[in-house]
């Protein structure tokens, strides 16, 4: 299984041999491939051999809803992230390099702060008695607290914030590679700024959007902490459901089946990404 993948990754084929990669491969085999196989086996053997765990997952409305929620959240988060990230990436691409590296530093720095801390900070901001609602009520803009937490809004805000760097970084790479002359040429030919954006900039930046978007989407699918803390129980996503099956219900067979499905979906999306964007851009093209 791992050998197959190896030959399809061009970056590895380019290297002289896999000798140097052996420690890492051993680690991955021991702590990823073996557990995944064990997971798959458990999903079809626990509590009794058969496909009943998968039948339960697909046959029950509750689980279907959790699957739907997971994709809904990932889609919304990806879309909002693209919209928010694009102006930032564009600004970074055309900024003087010195200033650009400072902004870059700030974006990277946010990734170094603990995820849990950042999510709790959002709780403090978003809750009914939180900073945002208090301020808005104090200045008289609203009379009732806005429902910003324990729902899709809270999950989206928290996750977009965390995903932004993963969208901005590939996008900047793509945008920098676009020759600014193409935009000037468009303007000279009479294109309005909006036309230039829609017909020149956007199409040229699509590979970056696709690369970042798929990355954000795939990461969102498996997210646990942020949806759990900022969402309500009706926004439950797959990762939280799996944790519940493993920790609370002690139904490891069902949890394994759900985890395996999540893994399959993620791998399918990754394969799609490789095909669409090309492995080169994914692995080292930025």
């Amino acid at each position: 299984m791992s050998g197959n993948l190896l030959h399809r990754l061009p970056i590895l084929r380019r290297s002289d041999g896999i000798g140097g990669a052996l420690p890492a491969l051993t680690l991955i085999t021991l702590f990823f491939v073996v557990p995944v196989v064990a997971l798959l086996l458990r999903s079809v053997t626990d509590p009794v051999p058969g496909l009943q765990n998968y039948a339960t997952l697909f046959g029950d409305g509750t689980y279907a809803r959790v699957f739907f929620n997971t994709f809904l959240v990932a889609t919304v988060v990806t879309a909002v992230t693209v919209i928010v990230a694009f102006p930032v990436a564009w600004m970074l691409a055309i900024m003087p390099p010195a200033l650009g590296s400072i902004v870059f530093g700030i974006i990277i720095l946010s990734m170094w702060t603990n995820l849990l801390t950042r999510t709790y900070a959002w709780m403090v901001l978003l809750q009914r008695t939180g900073v945002i609602n208090r301020t808005l009520m104090d200045i008289g803009l609203i009379s009732e607290p806005l429902p910003l937490i324990n729902n899709l809004t809270g999950v989206t805000i928290g996750m977009v914030y965390i995903m932004l760097p993963f969208m901005i970084l590939p996008l900047v790479g793509t945008l920098r590679a676009i020759d600014p002359m193409t935009l000037r040429a468009a303007a000279l030919c009479g294109a309005s700024p909006f036309d230039a954006f829609r017909r020149i900039l956007l199409p040229l930046s699509l590979p970056g959007i696709a690369a970042g978007g798929l990355m954000v989407f795939v990461m969102s699918l498996g997210y646990f902490v942020t949806p759990t803390l900022l969402g309500g129980t009706s926004n439950m996503m797959l990762a939280a459901m799996i944790a519940q099956m493993i920790q609370s219900l002690l139904n490891w067979g069902l949890g394994s089946a759900a985890a395996f499905i999540l893994l399959l979906v993620t791998m399918a999306l990754y394969a799609l990404q490789l095909r669409l964007v090309g492995a080169k851009r994914m692995t080292g093209g930025i």
Partner: protein, 334 residues
């Protein structure tokens, strides 16, 4: 293969396994575990010379992984009683050696072959006085959105308590609660579902009520006690308070079983139980403990509110735990 996975999992978990003169105590963290450390572990270390390492929070999935993988890193674990009954049936626990752990004074309600009481507590109705106009007087008020608008908070996990509260609020007499009418309970809960904020840890329940993020809720009495001790403007109603217990268990295959038994003897002794109760506001499971406690503390314990008190049926829950949990989480996700 199943064994390999659990072996790897448990191996990782046991990476910090205790030495012979050490043992590991696992509980739920927060003010409760602090009180347990101070009241039980400290005197035990002094008298036995065995060092007690603290771990947590309790995680039933981890416990099962350790036992199945044969690599148990926890020696004494604080768990909910209904889980303990179920886990004993599933073969996850060591039987208690009552030659080491004196049984005579232990409250029989919270003692089984595989578990001794840790402490017992009541679910009470608590509210933020600044966020609620008027005084809620019973569980039914938590379902009255016109008289008491605002967010209400309940325990998130499938466990004894919320279902019973819904049924009582719907008019089921206290002595007719079991077997639980789940359809009726969920129908009642549906009427306030959009106003429910769930708490999943004691600390969170305190934060929600103290900040007024939730106007009122179903809390563990010890957590309300701690809030009031800190001077928070929080009221509490003990009407139809519901008792449940945490118990101490030894996971099957514990490498420090002998030390663990001795620890249980200390933890359940009248003196340790009295110290813990004083620090936490939870009730002692040793019937001789009250004699060792100041009178005003005794007055704040669930024991002082036995009138109308309801004992949540742990055996019923142990029996139906999985079935109820499945419906509970399905309903929550809706």
């Amino acid at each position: 293969m199943k064994l390999i996975l659990t072996g790897i999992l448990a191996g990782l978990l046991a990476a910090t396994a205790a030495r012979a003169d050490e043992m590991v105590f696992t509980s739920w963290g927060g003010t409760t575990q602090e009180a347990q450390t101070k009241s039980w572990a400290a005197p035990f270390e002094a008298s036995s010379g065995i060092k007690v390492l603290q771990d947590g929070p309790t995680d039933y999935g981890k416990l099962k992984a350790m036992v199945e993988g044969g690599s148990v890193a926890w020696d004494v674990v604080d768990v909910e009683m209904d889980f303990a009954i179920k886990a004993a049936k599933d073969g996850l626990l060591e039987p208690i050696d009552f030659n080491v752990v004196p049984k005579a004074d232990l409250d029989p309600r919270f003692t089984t072959d595989h578990a001794v009481g840790s402490f017992y507590y009541s679910f009470v109705l608590a509210w933020n006085k600044g966020a609620v106009s008027g005084e809620p007087t019973g569980w039914a008020d938590m379902f009255d959105l016109t008289k008491f608008p605002g967010k209400r908070t309940f325990y998130k996990w499938s466990a004894p308590g919320v279902i019973e509260i819904a049924l009582l609020a719907d008019g089921v007499p206290a002595d007719k609660l079991y077997p639980l009418d789940l359809d009726r309970a969920f129908k009642k809960l549906d009427t306030i579902k959009s106003e429910i904020v769930w708490w999943d840890s004691g600390a969170q329940s305190q934060q929600l009520i103290a900040s007024g993020e939730a106007a009122f809720g179903q809390l563990w009495n010890g957590r309300v006690f701690a809030l009031q001790q800190d001077g928070a403007d929080v009221g509490a109603s003990w009407k139809q308070n519901m008792t449940a217990a945490d118990v101490l268990v030894i996971p099957k295959g514990s490498k420090n079983k002998a030390s663990a038994m001795k620890f249980l003897a200390t933890a359940t002794s009248a003196k340790s139980q009295a110290m813990f109760a004083e620090a936490s506001g939870y009730a002692p499971i040793n019937t001789a403990a009250k004699a060792e406690m100041p009178a005003d503390v005794v007055k704040s314990l669930p024991d002082a509110y036995v009138d109308g008190q309801i004992d949540l049926d742990m055996n019923y829950w142990a029996e139906n735990r999985d079935k109820i949990a499945e419906r509970w989480y399905a309903w929550q996700a809706k």
